[in-house]
């Protein structure tokens, strides 16, 4: 009997091996470009939380630490070892999506890109990519326009601006400073151009006196803002809240060194409009340091990512979303509301 049992165990071994290899993974990998980015960090947390009822997942997203090479190897290792059945990818370099899609197609692994929008020619390269690859992100154009709307409702139109205290040098033009996110990032470029377009559309006269890339980082914006003091700035757009907060911090420090109380901040300084609606950003709005921000709706984005995955993997149709979600083919955009108080 003992001998039979032993034989039985040996006979089971190949079965175990087979089952561990042959069974299709239900693991969804999440790959972040850099978890030190607060918005991305929050977004990945929400995605993982939303994935939880349906799929296996890691405790954290894989962190590429701003290296596309590292992210490539993370994703390729997981694909080659059949660890994942699908991936949520926040690329470091949006142009790398082309190779990742090609690699995924060879292994039939659906990909959902977040935050960094792949080129249309890559995401819609062929029938497979249209059916299996998606982009879910904010709507940078809507966000840029919303930023311009916040400015418009503050100024009340070109004619009232020219008469108001906002026009510090009384030239009837808005001297605009722009703190941009990242060179080549579609959100940075789109938010920038949209907010400028928004101002033009509302009939303002303006000129851009500052335009710097601060890589979405508060510290870089803080450093950059130190050099702004000599210039006459009447409006500042930041591509995200973190950078807006960097500018605010620089201004507060210069106030503090000259003994000006914090309560005077709003009256002394130019309006600052951020984007993303992070917790710190919202707090800054409520204190009046920041005029407004536009919510980059990570909650809705995370839910949408999981819905798209479920549709692709398990063919479960996407539930109805509010009108703030727009989609075109395999691109899903979530426009967030303005926050001004």
């Amino acid at each position: 009997m003992a001998k039979n049992r032993k034989i039985g165990l040996w006979a089971l071994l190949p079965l175990l091996l087979l089952s561990s290899c042959g069974k299709k993974s239900t693991y969804v990998g999440v790959y972040a470009y850099d978890l030190s980015d607060t918005f991305i960090n929050s977004l990945q947390n929400k995605i993982i939380k939303d994935l939880d009822p349906y799929y296996e997942h890691g405790e954290y997203a894989e962190d590429a630490m701003s290296s596309q090479t590292l992210q490539n190897s993370q994703l390729i290792n997981d694909i080659d070892s059949h660890r994942i059945c699908a991936a949520v990818v926040n690329t470091v370099d949006r142009l790398a999506a082309s190779a990742l899609i090609e690699k995924a197609e060879k292994n039939n692994i659906p990909l959902v890109f977040i935050n960094r929008e792949p080129l249309k020619e890559d995401l819609q390269k062929n029938a497979w990519s249209v059916a299996n690859c998606f982009y879910v992100g904010g709507n940078p154009n809507a966000e840029g326009l919303a930023q311009a709307e916040i400015a418009n409702s503050l100024f009340g139109g070109q004619s009232s601006f020219a008469l108001s205290a906002f026009d510090k040098n009384k030239d009837g033009k808005i001297q605009v400073a722009i703190v941009k996110g990242e060179k080549g990032h579609q959100d940075a470029e789109a938010r920038t151009s949209s907010c400028i377009d928004g101002l033009s559309a509302s009939g303002y006269n303006f000129e851009i006196v500052e335009s710097v890339y601060c890589n979405w980082k508060r510290s870089e914006a803080y450093t950059a803002a130190k050099t702004f003091s000599s210039k006459n700035i009447e409006l500042l757009f930041a591509n995200n809240d973190a950078m807006a907060l960097g500018v605010i911090q620089a201004l507060q420090e210069s106030d503090a060194s000259s003994g000006v109380p914090l309560s005077d901040f709003k009256n002394r300084h130019y309006p600052i409009i951020g984007c993303d609606g992070t917790i710190e950003g919202k707090a800054a709005v409520s204190y009046g340091y920041m005029t407004g921000t536009v919510l980059n709706d990570d909650t809705t984005q995370a839910a949408l990512v999981v819905d798209v995955l479920r549709k692709t993997i398990d063919n479960i149709s996407i539930p109805a979303y509010d009108s703030n979600v727009t989609f075109k083919d395999n691109y899903y955009y979530v426009a967030g509301p303005k926050i001004t108080q």
Partner: protein, 569 residues
């Protein structure tokens, strides 16, 4: 039943197979461990080299992108009125700094030239239909890299980028910079990629932008297409083995593939595996030989012992064993014990033979005694007849002869008696018989001089004489019986010759056979004599029979002199 194996094969085979198995397992393990170790080390090293090359290129492309954004920033900050001259001087400055730039230009969105460097002379015609121009317009946020077909040995590529002009999109433009890739490659630290190794830059449709080595490029591209990105540790191109690494190049739509020759890794692995396999085989062979020699040393003395023992089958208990067989302690002791055993068997056998002889002697004595009564009755009847006839002298003579006969027969119980007594015994017998049968035969006894000193087994002549009288004499003729005793060489010989019927050759042969065969009971007298002399004198004693039909029979008793020198002890 299974045939038992020899000690040698029992010692050599299981040990050798076990050892060979062990060595093979070790060789396999060592090969696998070494291969995986060397392979993973070399893969790690090649990956590091590849990533270093990639980093070098990314660093370079990053500077290219910085150039692009600097141009864009400069354009954005140039006043509308003199942006053309401003851009041209900026281009000229950049050109003097960057040798790898072939030309630089800036076009309005309708394709008309806004500015170009003063060194080169780009065509002034509209660029609205060029692909790089259209791509830049379509993807306003990215730098478009394009690679026109290479001209001669020069690899070149074009960077185009849509630039926005401040608040007025009417002045947006497209900048274009042509780079000499060959010069860029020279700027980047070279890595040794080995024979046939290469790095190739290609776009996402796998069109080659630049390759450092052109041979078998199509084949290489096939592997790259299969891989897309990542690494493939062993691809074979034209009989060589390569490590392939492919990656995207950050912020460009291009990709970089690196092929590193890993023939040395393969050959070092092959060398290792061949060496260790041969060593393993050598060790197995050496072990086999050593084991064989040991087994031979052990089994050889045992084999010798076995041969000695086989001699027992021939009942040769005196078989001389090698007094000392070289071999293991056990074998030497076994040999010693065997010798002891053989000695003991020899002793026992001798004892048995002696015992048997004694037994037979007593049997023979009884046989001798059996002879007497029959003869006695006949003789006594003859004496009675003589007395009845009144021939008292003859009766007396016969009684005397009979008396002598019996005295000699008994001889005080001795089996061996002086030779003259035995002759006398035969003579008395003949005398008695002659008196009984009248003149039907004559006899003579001829004893060579000097035989008196010998002793012989008693009653050897009388039974043969009895045979001659009983069967040998012809009726109606006067028989003749001649007894002779003489020396011949080392032997004493007694011949009893008659002139009777004689025997056919076949009969003689039959008689001779019956002497040797204990189961045949024929010719009792002669056989009895034969057996007794054999027992007393050994194998050299014999009985010879000569006979011719109608001529007569001659029986010769042959006794070694040596055994006849002494009487009974």
């Amino acid at each position: 039943m299974k045939k038992p194996r020899s000690i040698r094969s029992m010692m050599v085979l299981p040990g050798s197979f076990g050892f060979a198995f062990l060595v093979i397992v070790m060789v396999l393990l060592a090969s696998i461990l070494y291969s995986s170790n060397v392979t993973s080390n070399s893969n790690a090293q090649m990956l590091a080299t590849s990533q270093q090359v990639l980093t070098n290129y990314e660093t370079y492309f990053d500077s290219v992108l910085t150039t692009s954004s600097n141009i864009a920033a400069h354009y954005d900050s140039s006043p509308v009125a003199n942006r053309s001259t401003s851009m041209q001087s900026y281009f000229d400055t950049l050109m003097s700094l960057k040798s790898e730039v072939i030309d630089m230009a800036c076009y309005a969105t309708d394709g008309s030239v806004i500015a170009h460097d003063s060194v080169s002379s780009p065509e002034v015609a509209s660029k609205a239909t060029d692909q790089w121009f259209i791509d830049a317009q379509n993807n306003r946020l990215i730098n478009v890299f394009s690679s026109p077909a290479k001209t001669g040995d020069d690899y070149r590529f074009t960077l185009s980028k849509y630039v926005s002009y401040g608040s007025d999109s009417a002045y947006d433009a497209v900048i274009k910079v042509d780079f000499d890739f060959t010069k860029i490659v020279n700027l980047i630290p070279e890595s040794t990629l080995g024979l046939g190794g290469r790095f190739t830059i290609y776009d996402k449709n796998y069109n080659v932008v630049y390759t450092s080595y052109t041979e078998k490029q199509t084949e290489a591209m096939g592997f790259i297409k299969d891989l897309v990105i990542g690494s493939s540790p062993s691809v074979k191109i034209g009989g060589h083995s390569y490590y392939l690494y492919a990656s995207t190049v950050s912020n460009t739509t291009w990709r970089l593939a690196i092929l590193q020759n890993r023939d040395s890794v393969v050959s070092s692995l092959t060398t290792f595996i061949v060496t260790i396999s041969l060593t393993g085989l050598g060790v197995i062979a050496a072990y086999f030989i050593v084991l064989f020699l040991i087994a031979f040393r052990v089994s050889k003395p045992i084999g010798e012992l076995q041969e000695e023992m086989a001699k027992i089958e021939s009942l040769n208990y005196q078989a001389t064993l090698h007094p000392e067989i070289n071999g293991s302690l056990e074998v030497v002791e076994l040999n010693h014990s065997f010798n002891q055993m053989m000695g003991r068997i020899d002793e026992l056998t001798k004892a048995v033979v002696t015992e048997k002889e004694e037994q037979r002697k007593s049997e023979l004595k009884a046989l001798q005694n059996q002879i007497n009564p029959h003869f006695l009755y006949n003789t006594l009847d003859s004496i009675i007849a003589l007395i009845d006839k009144g021939e008292n002298d003859k009766a007396e003579e016969m009684i005397v002869a009979l008396s002598k006969f019996f005295r000699l027969s008994i001889s005080q119980g001795h089996n061996v008696i002086p030779l003259p007594n035995e002759i006398e015994h035969a003579r008395n017998y003949l005398l008695i018989q002659k008196m009984r049968f009248g003149d039907s035969f004559s006899y003579s006894i001829d004893v060579a001089p000097g035989l008196e000193k010998y002793f012989v087994v008693k009653l050897i002549l009388q039974p043969i004489v009895e045979n001659s009288i009983g069967h040998g004499l012809k009726e109606g003729e006067v028989g003749s019986i001649k007894i002779k005793a003489y020396e011949e060489g080392d032997f004493l010989k007694f011949s009893i010759e008659d002139n009777g019927y004689g025997m056919t050759k076949e009969k003689v042969e039959e008689l001779r056979k019956s002497l040797l065969d204990s189961t045949v009971y024929k010719g009792v007298g002669l056989k009895n004599v034969y057996q007794r002399i054999r027992i007393y004198y050994g194998l050299s004693a014999d009985v010879d029979i000569e006979s011719e039909e109608d001529v007569g029979t001659k029986i010769t008793i042959i006794i070694p002199k040596e055994g006849a020198l002494h009487g009974e002890e």
